[in-house]
C-alpha cells in the first residue's frame, strides 16, 4: 500500500488525487448500497433510503465524470488504470486460487465460495 501511495504522490497533484479518490469512493459506495438491497430485510434498512443512496452516488458519479473527469485527462486515465488493476488482480488471483482448488470456483451468488 505504501508503494502505491508513494507512486501517486509522485505522479499526481493534490487535485488529481482528490478527484480520483472521489470517483473510486462513489463506485465503492454504489456497490455497497447495491449489495445492501439483498440483505435489507435482515438489517431492517429502509428501501427508500437505499434507493435514494444509490441514485445519489451513481448520479453524482455520472455528473462528476461528465463535468470534472472530462477536463482532467490524467485523472481520468488514473481512474481507468485503477479499475483495470482491480479487475486484473481479482481475475488473476482467482484463476491461480481455483487452479489449486477446483472445488472453490468463484460465483457471484451469495454464500458461494
Amino acid at each position: 500500500m505504501a508503494l502505491l501511495t508513494i507512486f501517486m504522490v509522485i505522479a499526481l497533484d493534490l487535485n488529481s488525487i482528490a478527484s480520483l479518490g472521489g470517483a473510486v469512493a462513489l463506485l465503492i459506495f454504489s456497490a455497497i448500497t447495491a449489495a445492501h438491497f439483498k440483505t435489507y430485510r435482515e438489517t431492517h434498512a429502509s428501501l427508500i433510503v437505499l434507493v435514494v443512496a444509490l441514485v445519489a452516488t451513481l448520479g453524482t458519479l455520472v455528473v462528476f465524470a461528465l463535468t470534472t473527469l472530462v477536463d482532467e485527462p490524467k485523472t481520468a486515465l488514473a481512474f481507468v488504470v485503477i479499475l483495470a488493476a482491480a479487475l486484473l488482480l481479482d481475475f488473476v488471483w482467482k484463476s491461480v486460487r481455483n487452479r489449486g482448488s477446483p472445488r472453490s470456483a468463484p460465483s457471484d451468488q451469495p454464500g458461494s465460495l
Binding site: 478527484s19 462513489l26 465503492i28 481479482d90 491461480v96 451469495p110
Partner: protein, 252 residues
Amino acid sequence: MLTYLAKGFGEGHITGIVSWLFYMTGAIVAAMVATSFGGYASAVVTNGNPSWAIVFAVGLVVVMTLLNVVGSTAVARVQSLIVKVVLAILSVFAIVTITNWNPTLLDPAGYPSLREIVSSVALTFFAFLGFGVITFTAKDLSQPGRQLPRAIYLAIAIATTVYVAVSLGVFGTLTADQVVEYGTTAMAEAAKPTLGQAGYVLMVITALFSTAGAVNASLYPATGMTRHLAEAGQFPPYSAVRSAAAHRSAWW
C-alpha cells in the same frame, strides 16, 4: 462495508474487484493527505518549492510505514492525543473566523453552476470514506450492537459540524479565487486576518500533525484488511505475506 458486499454478492468477482478498489482507496487517501503535508512543510521550510513538497510527502509515507511495521502502541496513543488537539484547534479556528467573517463572500450569487456543485460533492463522499474504520473497534465494545451505530452517527455528526464550520470560516474570510491560489495552505492563510502570523503558524503546525496522523491512520488498517480478505479467499493468503516478513503488508 466489505461484509455487506460479501453478503449481497457472495465471494465472487464483484466482491473481489470492489475489495481491491477499497484497498487502493486507502493508498489514495494516504497519498492525498501526504501531499497536503508536503505542501505545508514545503511552504514553511523551502518557500513552497514543489519538488521539496514531494520529498516531504514521500518521507512522511516512509516514516509512517516503518512505524506501522514496528507496530508501536505508543504511536496509537500519540495518534489519539493528536486527534484531540487538532479537533480543539479546528474548533477555535472555526469560532474565531466565523465571528470575524465577511458574509458577503458567501453570497450565493457568486456560486458556480449546479452541475459543478454536484460534481464537487464527489469529493465530499471521499471525505467520509474513513468512517468504515470505526467498525474495527467492534471487538473492544461490550455492546457493539448498540454502541457501534451510536459511535458512527456521533463521529459523522462531529466531523460534519467541523467540516462545515471550518469551510464557513475559510470561505467567509478568503475569496474563492484566493482559496484556489493558496491551495493546500488556504486554511492557514484564512487564519492570518484574525489571528495574525501566530495564527498562520499555529494552523501550519496543526495541519502538519493532522496530516501526519491521518497518513498513519490510512496505512494502519492495511495489515488487518489484507488478512481479512485473504481469509475470505479474496486476496492471496496473508500467511504467505507474513512469512516473508512480519507486517510487511503495510508496504503492499
